[in-house]
Symmetry: C2
Subunit: 233 residues, 2 copies
DNA sequence: CGGCCGCTTGACCTGTGTCAAGGGATGTGG
DNA sequence: CCACATCCCTTGACACAGGTCAAGCGGCCG
């Protein structure tokens, strides 16, 4: 099965690790990559298991998490198309990963990726840039978890979803479809399901969001939401 | 002042970025590096300011933090000797940095470090490894901030200090000297000064720690402390 | 000596967690 | 096509961990 992927025709060519490579280098990458489809709600990296592979997300949304022995869980990030997955790694994965919806992945063996990095230093540079971005996001999340109120956390979260969807160019009025459940959001924001639900209701009462069919969120004023999320509420 | 540093004789040769280089390559590094001494309690990176430089800590302890407009603050990490500082950076620093005690720094300009990376890919590899470690630490901290109790947070923190001091080989009975104030610890753990103080008192009552002259902590059973910090308490 | 700073402790308050109930959507088997 | 179960979400009543406010102590320094 290995080696039969066509990276040049990949839908995420231009994103993630792949964007670091010229077309001819991609051919080499193809031999190391395997495309995988994971159904919704399936754990494909178990916390603490042997770290054989790295992944690149080519479709859908993945949640990364860490757990305590009694089952308390913290989702450390939701990662979408184009993102790389497996940096925070020694011999064992330091985190678990589960698909939020159906997900497509591009899988590389660690050893193969390492030899590829030797050959193409641009991959390494690309990974360093990605790691730096993840660090910035992690620091933002620490500020959120350590110092923000529930109201601010949910507003930050929704704004973050807008950044994920639109990048730099977020329109002043926007909509999002949240693929994750309230429980996932709670585990991401360090809250309980009940508090997340109550906070959505409060934001609705305050006309800061409109909630459609549960997963559909309308945001009439992005700037107002962003202000609340960053503590200027 | 630039270029007069002797990296080969540096006390942290063997740590951090420098350990990635052979002796002869170090000479090149010397020309790009400047040694700086910062007095205790001095902010040397302001959140959001232009990111001109990278730093390597060669003495003392530094706190990194992010703040909200109303003054709430989250310390994202304490970094000690050998650690690199400035990864989570775009054009502007995404965080502030302040010395906890007197600190020695090795400063590089961003542009010079970038040309050095071109020349010596081993630096890049080294930075990627460092970034991966920081990511793991950040994920642990998110779990702490999102899901642990005050009791568990303080125990985790003390255990973390032991790891910083002893590396892999932590003795079963140990001592630490904490250079940071209770307020710093509170801002790191997402608590208030009062709660940190009360929790230290509780740990003392439980004979899990012995508190000397305020900054001196004796830990009679490291394994017990570690168990509490990781939620097995 | 006086002022400041860091730390601790007490009394009280509140935001969020816990527990419990119920409703809507979806799926399944009879 | 209709029970019936399951899952996700919401809401209410109440509890509690940790925050807030206030007081006091000891050490350090000018």
């Amino acid at each position: 099965m290995e080696g039969c992927t066509n990276c040049a025709a990949c839908e995420v060519r231009g994103h993630g690790v792949c964007s670091a490579l010229a077309d001819k280098e991609l051919e080499r990458l193809s031999r190391a990559a395997v495309k995988v489809t994971v159904p919704a709600g399936h754990m494909f990296i178990e916390e603490g298991s042997d770290a054989h592979d790295f992944f690149n997300v080519t479709g859908g949304t993945v949640k990364l998490f860490k757990s305590l022995p009694d089952g308390r869980r913290q989702i450390t990030g939701f990662v979408g198309v184009g993102h790389f997955l497996g940096l925070a790694v020694s011999d064992h994965y330091a985190f678990g990963a589960e698909s939020v919806e159906q997900v497509q992945l591009c899988r590389f063996s660690r050893t193969k990726l390492e030899t590829l990095m030797e050959e193409f230093p641009s991959i390494e540079r690309r990974l360093l840039a990605e790691a730096a971005n993840e660090l910035v996001a992690a620091q933002d999340q620490m500020l959120l978890l350590g110092r923000k109120t529930a109201h601010e956390r949910v507003a930050s979260f929704l704004y973050g979803r807008l950044v994920e969807k639109y990048g730099e160019h977020i329109p002043p009025v926007a909509d999002i479809l949240l693929p994750m459940t309230r429980a996932d959001i709670a585990d991401f924001l360090g809250l309980t399901v009940e508090t997340v639900s109550r906070t959505f209701s409060r934001l609705r009462r305050e006309h800061l969001i409109g909630v459609g069919a549960g997963q559909d969120i309308h945001i009439p004023s992005v700037s107002r939401l962003e202000a609340i999320g960053s503590g200027d509420g």
